[in-house]
């Protein structure tokens, strides 16, 4: 079992108000799964994604990621290690560094992993080639189309060979054609064994997943895992 969530609660404490966002989430994801999380805004899907992505910790409950237990007390150090080595992120707005070439954007996680420059360059170039961007390695994000930017971001997300690819509305800022090609890439990566978890509004996009989880008011209302099997 790659991911296991047990009785996860998350409250946002804001001045004198406590807002419960996630209420007793129980979820397991097997290695190689492809999960879409759907839900209206305010349903807690982004918060769930943050906890899955080790960007946030639960108020209570346990999250076991590939054998590592994460609780509210987990250290910053541990979380950033997990993010670096086991997870890859793709964002709606790409979040590429401006004035930085595609190649340098892609190799950034390898810099943090302490990989020597030669190898970094080689691996980043290979990842970009795989995304069909071998002619764009020297271009800055400003010179790329939305679809190209997202493919650079995906190359960056997979450069560290993560176990899980987390995507937050990966097609939200793209036209349908570019969105389709991103979905193609996700499918390919999933077939190679990468577990994919993505948040989306779009039912058509969610349809690419093997399993669709519906979230509402911080509670899982439907888990379509069985349907797509």
């Amino acid at each position: 079992m790659l991911i296991e969530l047990r009785h996860i609660f998350k409250d946002y404490i804001n001045e004198k108000m406590v807002t419960p966002v996630l209420k007793d989430i129980n979820l397991t994801v097997e290695e190689g799964d492809y999960v879409a999380i759907m839900g209206p805004s305010g349903s807690g899907k982004t918060t769930l994604m943050n906890i899955l992505g080790c960007l946030d910790t639960p108020t209570s409950g346990e999250y076991i990621l590939d054998g590592t237990e994460i609780t509210g007390d987990s250290s910053d150090e541990l979380l950033s290690d997990l993010r670096l080595n086991k997870l890859g992120f793709v964002f709606q707005t790409f979040n590429l560094l401006p004035n930085t070439s595609s190649l340098e954007n892609v190799e950034l996680p390898l810099v943090y992993a302490g990989i020597p420059k030669e190898e970094r360059r080689k691996r980043a170039a290979a990842a970009l080639e795989r995304m069909g961007l071998d002619d764009k390695t020297g271009n800055n994000p400003g010179e790329l189309s939305g679809g190209q930017k997202q493919r650079v971001a995906i190359a960056r997300a997979i450069i560290n060979d993560p176990r899980i690819l987390l995507a937050d509305e990966p097609t939200g800022a793209l036209d349908s054609e570019s969105g389709e090609s991103v979905m193609e890439l996700f499918k390919e990566l999933n077939e190679e064994g990468v577990t994919v978890i993505m948040i989306t509004h779009d039912a058509d996009i969610a349809a690419h997943a093997k399993r669709v989880i519906h979230l509402k008011d911080g509670i899982i209302r439907g888990d379509g895992g069985e349907c797509s099997e």
């Binding site: 943050n50 992505g53 960007l55 946030d56 910053d76 150090e77 950033s80 290690d81 993010r83 670096l84 080595n85 890859g88 992120f89 964002f91 707005t93 979040n95 560094l97 401006p98 004035n99 930085t100 950034l108 996680p109 810099v111 943090y112 992993a113 960056r156 997300a157 560290n160």
Partner: protein, 430 residues
């Protein structure tokens, strides 16, 4: 580290105007310090050159009383003081700091030298041996110097310096002319000038008094003929050529001690043994050490210099606050970037180091530019005010180190703030 510096440069390049304005504070502070230090050093070196350069590394040891030059003219021959004997001269000669020694007699402020109705005023007459000119750094401009036989034969001949020759003869040839000294005819055989074509920079009256005291016209006659004009067995002054400029003080002090030890104590004669009054009344040899005077002059300007440097340091402090401010703004502005970096696995220390590096690179660049601009400002100042400037390498290195230190101090707060940003909060702000 290399990667960090590269990223820092990219960050600086992305915000060119802002980086330039930030650097300005550091640039002004460092430039001010460098300009001030350079012109202080220049002035000090000028003082030293003015005083030391004129003397050709020579130190005069003469008689003084109560801090003033002793005038045989008015005081007569002081008790117990005889011409310097061979033994004493040899002892001075043997000092390791001494290259050469010459003995001479001297009378200042003489108005009794005539040529065809021309009269000198305030001239100095020197009774010298054959070595004197070489030791004093004088060379022949016209005619010849004294030979050994001139000294033995007691001939009435004289060598003039340029000022004296010009005063008496104008542009006419000096050699061969006969002048009148205290009623005695002397034939001029030559004219000498200083070897070093040195001209002190005179800015005010104080400078004039400091540098010009030996600028009066000089006339040289053989030491052996001295008694014809003045007194037999008159005390002598000692001219010492030190081996180097730095050994001048030692040479002067040691010679002074040897000479004072040679003074014979005469019982019952005025002032010599009365300890309490000794300092003010007794006649003693004293070295006229120009290097020491130069150092004393520099001392007096030190407090002003410290004040100037303090003012420059304050402007550097203001610059540092500017850097801290800009770095804080930069952290806020780049929240998304920081959030992303944390999301893809950058640890706190990595973010902290990145921002600290950026601050240090920024201020170090400011430091380098500040040093360059400081040198330019010092050059311009020296040219406009006709003073000197001299580059001080240790100060430049120090200024550069300070500018980097400013970066660390100003950057540490913002860097910690950046590293503590919550990645979720950071990514949400788009």
């Amino acid at each position: 580290m290399g990667e960090n510096i590269k990223m820092a440069f990219r960050g600086i390049k992305t915000h060119k105007l802002r980086s330039a304005l930030t650097m300005l504070g550091v640039i002004i502070g460092i430039a001010a310090i460098i300009a001030i230090v350079s012109s202080i050093k220049g002035t000090n070196e000028q003082i030293k050159r003015n005083l030391v350069g004129s003397g050709n590394n020579t130190v005069e040891v003469g008689l003084s009383q109560g801090g003033m030059e002793y005038e045989v003219e008015y005081g007569g021959i002081p008790a117990g003081i005889r011409p310097v004997d061979e033994e004493t001269k040899k002892a001075i000669m043997d000092l390791s700091s001494v290259e050469n020694v010459s003995l001479y007699k001297k009378r200042s402020y003489q108005n009794n030298i005539f040529y065809m109705g021309q009269q000198t005023s305030g001239a100095s007459i020197y009774g010298v041996d054959a070595d004197y000119f070489a030791v004093a750094g004088l060379c022949i401009k016209e005619g010849r110097l004294f030979s050994k036989s001139d000294l033995q034969k007691n001939v009435k001949i004289a060598v003039l310096d340029e000022a004296m020759a010009k005063g008496l003869f104008g542009t006419e040839k000096a050699a061969g002319k006969v002048i009148d000294i205290k009623g005695e005819p002397f034939t001029v055989v030559g004219v000498v000038k200083n070897i070093s074509t040195f001209e002190p920079v005179i800015e005010n009256l104080q400078d004039y008094e400091t540098y010009m005291n030996d600028g009066q016209a000089r006339i040289f006659i053989p030491i052996t003929i001295w008694p014809v004009l003045y007194i037999y067995d008159e005390p002598e002054n000692v001219l010492i050529k030190a081996v180097s400029t730095d050994s001048m003080t030692n040479a002067g002090r040691d010679a002074q001690e040897i000479l004072n030890a040679s003074i014979k104590e005469v019982p019952g004669s005025g002032g010599m043994q009365e300890g309490s009054e000794e300092g003010s009344s007794s006649v003693k040899y004293k070295a006229n050490d120009v290097l020491e005077i130069a150092n004393r002059l520099q001392e007096t300007s030190r407090s002003t210099n410290i004040l100037l440097i303090a003012v420059a340091a304050i402007s550097l402090l203001v610059g540092a606050i500017g850097v801290a401010n800009i770095m804080l703004v930069s952290v806020t502005e780049r929240t998304t970037e920081i959030g992303l970096k944390k999301a893809i696995g950058a640890k706190k220390t990595v973010i902290r180091r990145q921002f600290l590096t950026e601050a240090v690179v920024l201020t170090a660049m400011g430091g380098i530019l500040g040093v360059i601009i400081g040198i330019i400002v010092a050059r311009v100042m020296a040219a406009v005010m006709q003073t000197n400037m001299a580059l001080d390498i240790p100060w430049m290195i120090l200024a550069f180190a300070i500018s980097m230190g400013v970066g660390i101090v100003a950057g540490i707060g913002p860097a910690i703030k950046a590293s503590n940003l919550n990645p979720i909060e950071a990514l949400r702000r788009e």
